[in-house]
Amino acid sequence: MALERRGASIDIVSVDKQYGIGPNAVIALDHIDLRIESGEFLCLLGPSGCGKSTLLRILANLDHQTGGEIGVDAAGWDVENAMVFQDSGLFPWMDVETNVRFGLDTRGVPREEARKRVDEALTLVGLTRFRKHYPHQLSGGMRQRGAIARAFVTNPGMLLMDEPFAALDAQNRTILQAELVRMWEQTGKTVIYVTHSIEEALLLGTRIVVMTAQPGRIKTIINVPFTHPRDVVTLQAEPEFGKLKLDIWRVLEDEVNRARAEMAL
């Protein structure tokens, strides 16, 4: 499989994140060490409250670690990262086109170039016909396509995705997962994808980082053996898929139970 790997590489070295100080301090991330290679599709998997979103927000510069270092090599990319949020986050007062152009406007990209890039991004996600629509006129799936286009158009070194398809219905989720895989295969971009779904992590990722709940630590890292191009529909029917899913569930089960026991206290 000869895929051109294009994207930032990230070195996460013993990163901590702590909320508050003293006895009431909550440790969200505890000594996270992780090297993400250029062009990887890395899934962060774990129970809710395991700090996977916190790690993503730190990578997105929306939050800061309280210890450790993060080194990003995003040389050659227009911007270091672009994030796709769970709830699309398309601005309701801008039409699709203006939303997609937002990350170019903020960086002062000339009008002509911006228009070309927006056209390309809209084509990539299949929203060209809806460029003048407002978000409230679109379905949830189409809004997420818009959010993905807005991220891709900025030509980022890495794409950060925070459970982007969690709020969609099953059919739409499968369709968008398939399209995301296709886009990733086309662009070879580094993707860091947060999810709590084992299936999703297996379908999309090249590597899965399983995290523990409070304090958030890396429990295990799994290399996904499936090759690309992938068909997310048929993949789910393969015996290997079911076996891996069960393996990961065994790993996660302890964590989920432990998190529940802690909540009950």
Partner: protein, 283 residues
């Protein structure tokens, strides 16, 4: 004692059939749905006038003290053509519009700044909390002292009355913008001025309009009240002076004029909102 069964079918079951409702071709109306909506908007005030006219014509009430709408219409035409109504209306409109703009523009700007910058918010919060509840009409004597009996004092009063609901609503709108939009703006590299122009302003716009609508109502209350006592022009003056002369029909002409202005202003606002807030208005 027998126990009466109160629930459940007691006799043989009765089947209720639900008839089908076939699709009926809707007769094409001569008006579009939008035009019909707008037409409906004017029906309730017209209906009220009709009831009023009929009641008086049927002999309920004394027409010397309560003129019929047709009497008022005749008087209105008279005041409009040979009387001073155009001058009074122009005076009131000038004060209302100028005062509205002078209050609304700083209100919006400062409301947005308060949402954006914490020091601005901390500085203005107590000031607003203290001044907002004061009935603005209570400031009239003070303003007369400072600005005299001309237009300036009324314009200032309207501006003050408009400023507070606008700043409070603008601030509320801007500070309730969902967190995700701030995150998106930051992640996509928006500068402070971008944040202000493209996120905060538009995010607050629905609430800004709510504030402007409240301000519109407030401004007429304040303006007419101030024209009662300290003016020789304006609709308020017209109403007050006709009371002193017991010209009930002229009083009604004044009241109707204010009603008309209010109706037109609020219709204009609705239209403006449709244009400016398409993501809310079309739902």
């Amino acid at each position: 004692m027998t126990i009466a069964s109160t629930t459940g079918p007691t006799t043989k079951s009765t089947v209720k059939t639900r008839a089908a409702r076939p699709v009926v071709e809707v007769k094409k109306s001569m008006f579009s749905p939008k035009a019909r909506e707008r037409l409906l908007y004017f029906i309730s005030p017209l209906g009220l006038l009709l009831v009023w006219q009929l009641l008086l014509m049927a002999g309920f009430g004394d027409r010397r003290f309560i003129p019929t709408p047709s009497d008022i219409a005749v008087k209105y035409w008279e005041e409009l053509t040979v009387g001073m109504l155009p001058i009074h209306t122009a005076a009131t409109l000038y004060r209302a519009i100028t005062g509205f703009l002078l209050g609304a523009i700083p209100g919006v700007a400062m409301g947005l700044l308060m949402a954006m910058f914490k020091p601005v918010r901390i500085f203005f919060d107590p000031l607003i909390a203290a001044l907002f509840p004061i009935p603005k009409v209570a400031l009239m004597p003070l303003l007369l002292l400072a600005l005299g009996f001309g237009d300036a004092s009324k314009i200032a009063l309207v501006a003050i009355g408009v400023f507070f609901p606008v700043i409070v609503n603008t601030y509320a709108g801007a500070s309730n913008i969902e967190k995700i939009y701030w995150d998106v703006a930051r992640n996509y590299g928006a500068s402070q001025s971008m944040l202000f122009r493209r996120i905060i302003f538009f995010g607050a716009l629905p609430m800004i309009f709510a504030g402007l609508r409240i301000a519109l109502a407030v401004s007429f209350i304040i303006l007419v009240a101030s024209e009662f006592v300290a003016s020789k022009t304006g609709i308020g003056y017209l109403i007050w002076s006709s009371w002193e002369l017991l010209q009930v029909d002229v009083m009604f002409v004044g009241i109707v004029t204010i009603g008309f202005i209010g109706l037109i202003a609020s219709a204009l606002f609705q239209e403006l909102e449709r244009i400016c807030v398409p993501w809310k208005a079309n739902q």
